[in-house]
Symmetry: D2
Subunit: 282 residues, 4 copies
């Protein structure tokens, strides 16, 4: 399993959220509280849309992937201090079996799209071939790593992620569950997923067993400022700024709201909404 | 492209062949003479069958894979000095596009089998999906990396490598060429391949265009000893000892014989043979 | 801080002790119970004397150092399975500030000597220069990394480690404490140290504040066998076989004895002794 | 030995100079023409001053260091595309013996200062201790790696680099040559060095034997534009923009001028000067 964080709002230096909070993502890499493992030391990554005049302006995102633990990665620290972005995704990995290598680090990128995942597909070695077959042949060559997470991304792309993200994720889930059923694998999917096209940011929470990994979002920046005075940049960001996290960056009180089961949040231009969703059988 | 070396004979320390020769594999990692590239710095690996009373005795091989260049890898040096083996494969990689990561390092292993490759499949991104589909579903989950080389191994395993290695390689080649033809990719395959089950060692040389990467074998250990006084261990090995290499470990004269086009050599119990072979269409 | 394990006895595969025990060193890399940190993910290393006819026969040790966490290092697993040794040292690192790099991985080697350390020198950045100056100028060029641990090794070598190990360690401690006093650094030293020349294995436990990191040794192999049926190799080793560990490989009862404060154990030819020692001011 | 590039002028993306030129620094990592080695695959690094309104505005530089070869480093590529800077240093390393690790990657940083080096100190293992002793005790703790290059930086800092860079370098050279003479090491120093404080950029060329590694600078951006149409960003930079390189980024004709022996160039606010200098004995 893993931990992740996604940000959408006024441009800030990545380090403000990755390093400064009391229970920052970097702290979570050694001391996760709500994860299956306390240690998330199997690589890390960030993907960010460049700050172009305060927004993203349709530019392609950049990514940084490293195989070592986030807590000792000096390049990540340097980068996080100097890169400012209005929309970024950050991830620390705890492998569920696949190799520790850059091509397995999140977020994954396809064109202007970024995708990251916490969770797993049960029985993945057994299901992998059938899932790979559902990927559009023109997309297949872009798969670089060996994780379930990246394959989920390409299945979702195949089902129209770029046109209708929630519906593509619904079909992706339905397909995984159908393939698992065919192979007799119960409760196959655990996921919290963040995905973005540079304008919108979606965050999905789902598990077949309806007992999903934790996922929280901030609603009111003012509460967040009060709870996290150590994150200086928050004092200056616009009110519509949102943070979505696997686990809160400090204490829970007031600032962090749990995404309900089988729901997703979407943030666009400082406006956020919550919706429920359901698997869509293939 | 890459460079490789395979050894079968009396147990010796790996370093005798990897480091000591004037134009050793380590030297070839920076100064290859016959390769497409002079630099082979995209990872390295060795696979060896343990020395059990002078032979391999059916034991599973061990492997070491590293992503850095061979010339600066201290673990490879340490290991090569202390590990003695009667049968080993060593490889230095020059990526033809796929990621530099341990799961893409040669030799690849399946059970008691080792496989390594120099060359490439042209248009691999385009052909990969169809080739992956030919892999037996029960073998598919064992594919860990993203290279053409590893996929060739699993296609060959699918076609009975463990029962009849030359025939399986013939079918593997035929399949690759058939898939390429379907996609309109001309001259798809370049390969020299070494494969072993711990008893026999096969070395194949082939290319669709019949202009294959270089491959040499030693026939007479006495000539090798004269040409390479710097390889001390050679002075004491049995007469049937053989070395197969992408390029000679020093000057050519006398000791190194070229494997002909569309041919393979096989060594077993100190006895070697050369055979021709042909692609077998699926 | 770190965790380590040292073995002296009948030759066994390293994996028997590194991977098989319930609370193995690899398990301790994520779930240390007695350390300052639960995570020891800043590199790992093993040093082993080759098995030459059941003993070490004066040969130089080999080392393997890796910068990633032990739990995901495939080379360490491969190596540990195939290397058999009558005397080896293994270490998992939790950096106290210095860089995560191979030259900072334990054990350190000088000729036939191996050294590894758990603990730290307080105020090391401030004390480092004065300590480096105490190192014999002919030894100085062999320092490769930047840790306090390696520098301690070279200070001990300067004070005659190769002639009288306990006395050299006493002088090393006395020197560190004298330098610290000069700089006004209180309680400067925390250490458990393992050191070997290939015949003898010493394990020291000391801290200036007399509240040292944990250190345990096995006395009776028969008890160890009963407590650890999962370590198959233990069933066949000679009775004088000893294991020294930062923390027990399972439950404590009976098999593991704590090394007292300011004491060291030494094992030679299956015979072990415990002694007290004291810092020797320079 | 190594290759490097330094840039001062209108802010551009690092990739414009690192990747786009026909004989770019990345190309030089495999195919250097004027170096001692054709391969510079022992790590790479960039240091850059952030673009603050078209200038550097006194901000501290950021650095990126990687141990693998530049040609396969995906993070370097990502970073180089998205980071824009008016003043940056880039380096590809060919180790002359010291370990391949991030702490040995150039450029080195101290506060607002960056330093990188091509060349070597002969007999460095022998001279290292005496040179380390000349470093100011308050600077000593900041030395992180084991190279001659970083030690030269700290010797120069000790001699007032921050007050008078050329004079500090003169004294650094004089000190190295004096220490070498004491140890009987002839012709100890080979260096081209780039150093910056974020405003000024100095480039020194010197060797004791007066036969120094190559070093070139661009004078006229208009000629550079004509010679390098593939570097699009050059079309838009200010006329005072300068590039200093170990070897030209393409053909020599007209655009690249050799820095004479025992000379340095300094660039500040689009104005450049060449001066001679001499070692200053301690």
């Amino acid at each position: 399993m893993c931990r992740w964080l996604a940000y959408s709002g006024s441009p800030i230096a990545l380090a403000e959220l990755l390093y400064k909070p009391r229970h920052s993502l970097i702290d979570q890499s050694r001391h996760a509280r709500m994860g299956v493992e306390t240690t998330n030391g199997d690589g890390c990554g960030v993907g960010w849309y460049p700050d172009i005049g305060g927004g993203t302006d349709g530019a392609e995102p950049a990514i940084f992937h490293a195989t070592g633990p986030a807590w000792s990665d000096r390049n990540l620290l340097e980068l996080s201090r100097c890169v400012r972005s209005p929309l970024f995704l950050a991830h620390i990995r705890a492998s569920t079996g696949t190799a520790v290598q850059q091509s397995n680090c999140h977020p994954f990128r396809y064109g202007r799209w970024l995708w990251m995942h916490n969770g797993a597909i049960s029985g993945f070695p057994e299901l992998k071939r059938d899932l790979a077959l559902t990927v559009d042949p023109t997309l297949y060559p872009f798969i670089e790593g060996s994780t379930d997470s990246e394959l989920m991304f390409y299945v979702a792309l195949t089902f129209g992620l770029q046109d209708d993200a929630p519906r593509a994720v619904e079909r992706m889930i339905g397909t995984i569950e159908a393939v698992a059923q065919r192979h007799g694998v119960p409760d196959p999917l655990q996921m919290t997923v963040a995905v973005s096209d540079g304008h919108r940011l979606w965050a999905f929470r789902y598990s077949t067993e309806r007992h999903s990994r934790s996922l929280f979002f901030s609603t009111d920046v003012r509460t967040l400022r009060t709870l996290h005075p150590e994150i200086e940049a928050l004092q200056e960001v616009a009110d519509g700024t949102r943070v979505v996290v696997s686990e809160p960056l400090g204490d829970l009180e007031g600032a962090w709201h749990e995404v309900p089961e089988s729901s997703y949040g979407v943030v666009e231009d400082g406006h956020g909404e919550l919706h429920t969703f359901s698997p869509l059988a293939p």
